[in-house]
Symmetry: C2
Amino acid sequence: MNLKELSTQLGLSQTTVSRALNGFPEVSEKTRERVLQAARSANYRPSPSAAHLATGKTKVIGHVIPTTQHRMINPHFSDFLAGASEGYAAAGYDMLLRAAEPEEEAGVYEDFVSSKRVGGVVVHGPRLNDSRIGLLQSLGLPFLVHGRTGAEDESYPWLDVNNKEAFETATNYLIKLGHTRIALINGLEEMTFAAQRRAGYDAALQNSGLSLDPELNFSADMVEPYGYEATISLLNQSNPPTAILCSSILCAMGCVRALAENGMRPGKDVSVMTFDDVLSFLQPSRNQTSSPAFTSMRSSIQDAGRRSAEILIDVIEGKSSQPTGVCWEAELVEGRTTSPLRP
Amino acid sequence: MNLKELSTQLGLSQTTVSRALNGFPEVSEKTRERVLQAARSANYRPSPSAAHLATGKTKVIGHVIPTTQHRMINPHFSDFLAGASEGYAAAGYDMLLRAAEPEEEAGVYEDFVSSKRVGGVVVHGPRLNDSRIGLLQSLGLPFLVHGRTGAEDESYPWLDVNNKEAFETATNYLIKLGHTRIALINGLEEMTFAAQRRAGYDAALQNSGLSLDPELNFSADMVEPYGYEATISLLNQSNPPTAILCSSILCAMGCVRALAENGMRPGKDVSVMTFDDVLSFLQPSRNQTSSPAFTSMRSSIQDAGRRSAEILIDVIEGKSSQPTGVCWEAELVEGRTTSPLRP
DNA sequence: GGCAAAATCCAAAGCGCTTTGAGACCGCTA
DNA sequence: TAGCGGTCTCAAAGCGCTTTGGATTTTGCC
């Protein structure tokens, strides 16, 4: 069933039917109702490709999945996508995923533009000085960055958590508990979010007159085994930390595993704190009461995905007044993995 | 840059240029080379929408993400997608994601067909008698099922792990170690994969003359807190199991967490075995040596995604002779979480 | 050299939609 | 009754590509 068939069936022109379906004012309410009714019962859906060709617009948002490094193929990423896809679906948009080697990513954006495949893209995992922003701006492809570059000029659309503030708060929380040797198991510090978390951690320590010990700092892909390895290495130090701050709950899980293997309990022998993205696979179901119950800085990455979708769609449809950033504050949640330092 | 511009720039007709680009034999090698060269330097990409309109074919594969239940928005799903998207990218296909309530899924497929949005779909999480297969067959939309329905007639394309065999093997392994009280922390048994795992577990016990104790069986969404809760509940039984078999490494992690909290060690006090999908966020990096090291039945879900993509593309392009299933055997991996039962 | 066959190339139609520019019809006023 | 603004509808062009059917040139062979 296409427009032509539908309109002859209705005894109307294609123009009228198209206008009726797209809510143009030139068509009477009576006609519109008749058209909508017929379209529904004939199960008619306009072809997005044809509409795209005619209008130049496409309701598809692209995301690039970097391959090789499994950095992105992780629960953080998938929860973000889950949220975003809900946002898209609500607005009649679809999500297009394309796998690419990291060095191919620029080429994918060029392809998106010259083939007109998508109406906009979401940029994942921004770095301190990320060439993708300039590229997308010069390509004229609407985009939203999940995170920030950290460069001076942030006059592009982004959505981010206040990572510096979050980690300053977390570190201060541990300091108030009496801890002075606090380890940081951070993400890759070329990434802005990790750099900012590091900055918050450093600031808190310095403001309290505590020294920064490089031996207590780790930076890598935030996977579970990394949290484990880092913790093992911390425990083997001559002067091990009494508190550990993790950049992801995945690392925190590895951390707890390492502690357990050494007969130590989080919140008893060592305080453990983490950033909590509220990953869905860690959430207890309705009738289950327990969860890891980490003391954490919390901000749902799924919500971030949903909101990102909304913002990007506004940008694409020109509803957004000023293309600028949105910064969320993480919430401090007290759990069972921290306790005052015992003398 | 479009075909018309490119062809006038080359002094050729659109026909010739199109044929040159699409590898038709009617064009001389010399001309083809010239065309390809020009296309490359002009950064020309054909519009997929226009090609779609002209040919009726589209190199896009759809996936539906069920919302509300977070069943699918989990590391298993995202690793599958990661693998699939690589398979698509290698063949010039793209992946389209659409979020939908479970009861809307049928409607999405109808939309896909009538709007011609995708060339095929992947069906996730098949149930014992899944209405989606019949629907897709009657819609004429090419598809591949990740898993199986379990119905008698399996004459549709699917890719699955031999779940029954895997869990029979796992259970037998534990039995050989001397265990007689073996718990099963399974997925939702309305899902085929979980039902088949249960069947394998039951078969092994029965073949060894062991009794099936319903108290040792759990079935739910495979998330971490579920593994934790189930284990706690097992430990509180009057006659707790000496071995626990988990359907997912996520559950196994929750299981280990529960054991640790009760001062028990996997592989020492209780044997723990699991199905291991080789989830990427649990894989150690190059220079890290340790991993949870579960004794497990292993089959990479990411590989499954990649292979599924290839098979589906073959089906769509008519390269597949007989639309039928592919069954992978899981591999037994001996880790540190199992040991002989001590008397 | 001549002629058929093979090799190249082309003009134009068509995919399903949107949208321009214009026509038909209505009820009014002058 | 003629004229006018409004309301509703339409025919046709065009988006960028593929592909049919045909034209033109080149090649191979006697």
